[in-house]
Symmetry: C2
């Protein structure tokens, strides 16, 4: 059986992508005044991914990318007041209270009695800490790890530091790319909480998944069921 359970945070425990999508809508509204086409706006995702090498992941990265693409694609025609608007959209995202999904508190309460839980979340350190605090969920976790990338090497480092054997580790998260595939790579066990459309950078078609170490659930209520299924399986 597993000895630790890891949880992703954004889009797993609380709302996140919705805010980015809403901000993107506002961005479109602002920039289409300058004749930006749908194609221009579609290239925003590529541009943002390109910028990750400078900024990493998170809201500040998103704002700066919006500003850059808006200036470039309008050939500098966008007014600075519209840019100020983009900055304000970001500030609102950064200062928003976290909206924890229904059922999460009960789930974490139940699981934390039986297992040490570890939160593993990717993004901006300062903002992630603020969200964790705002969520009220911190005390369910024995450890919180904020990372800039979720690669097998990063998971491996975290598991090492906590003396967790990868095949005794269960990870729960909404992103195949960030939460599931790297943990499967290390020999871990995974529950894919497939609750959402994911950001295009995340959408990677899964290679063949090892079905004895992978389950997909659609609803929070089904996570506990999936945990129990693993507990009852031959994975001991």
């Amino acid at each position: 059986m597993f000895e630790w359970i890891g949880f992703d945070a954004d889009d797993t425990l609380w709302k996140n992508s919705e805010y980015y999508l809403a901000a993107r809508e506002e961005f479109i509204k602002i920039t289409q005044k300058y004749g930006l086409s749908a194609g221009d706006i579609d290239r925003f995702d590529d541009f943002e991914i390109e910028n990750i090498q400078y900024y990493g992941y998170g809201v500040m990265s998103f704002i700066l990318s919006m500003i850059e693409i808006a200036i470039e694609h309008t050939q500098g025609e966008i007014t600075s007041l519209d840019i100020q608007h983009l900055v304000q959209i970001g500030k609102n995202m950064l200062s928003k209270d976290v909206e924890v999904y229904d059922g999460i508190e009960e789930l974490l309460n139940d699981l934390s009695i039986r297992y040490p839980l570890i939160l593993i979340t990717k993004g901006d350190l300062f903002h992630q800490q603020r969200k964790i605090k705002s969520s009220g969920l911190k005390n369910f976790f024995k450890s919180v790890e904020i990372v800039s990338e979720k690669s097998p090497a990063v998971y491996s480092d975290i598991l090492d530091r906590h003396a967790i054997n990868p095949d005794r580790f269960l990870m729960v998260g909404n992103s195949l790319r960030s939460d599931i595939l790297p943990v499967l790579d290390l020999g871990g066990i995974t529950i894919h909480f497939a609750n959402h459309l994911t950001w295009s950078h995340e959408a990677k078609s899964p290679k063949e998944l090892p079905l004895d170490r992978y389950q997909e659930v659609k609803r929070i209520e089904d996570v506990l069921e999936a945990v129990k299924k693993f507990e009852g399986s031959g994975l001991r």
Copy 2:
């Protein structure tokens, strides 16, 4: 005696403030075209500190603050091409190779043979990781801690996790506010590497310092001497 030695990174191991000062000069050059007064520009520091609640510390925070203040203080007159220039200044700062101070490698090499070293640095997670990698110094450290704030509580948490007794901990850093005072608060030992003018937010006049647990040095070459002085002192 102490059992671990902590090091700050920015302005202690490698150049940092110089880049911010140079960027500030470029910012002044760009904005004074719009008639910004010296007083306006002096308020930039206050504005940046005000923004820490949203952005935390780091280059992205600095860029976004430059953009905001430039727009506000020019009543929106600044062109988006000048804003693009501000973004580019930030991107250059983010992608720059680290310039490690002379003598640091020898110092860390010497100390790391005798003590476990821990790097404790404040700022943006992604950028700090990039700088640590670029510095080539990572292997001297048994642990690397990137934090969003350097308060006594944050130090206490780090020391706890490593099972380090605070009075067995020596911290070396250039900032009284971030590296020295919080560690003294916890009962630790400190070496203030007073190598630089510090950012106004850092400049806090020290209260009475406990001289048996505090030394100030001006040059890297003197850090080792100061360590030996503590080793030879009654602090055992």
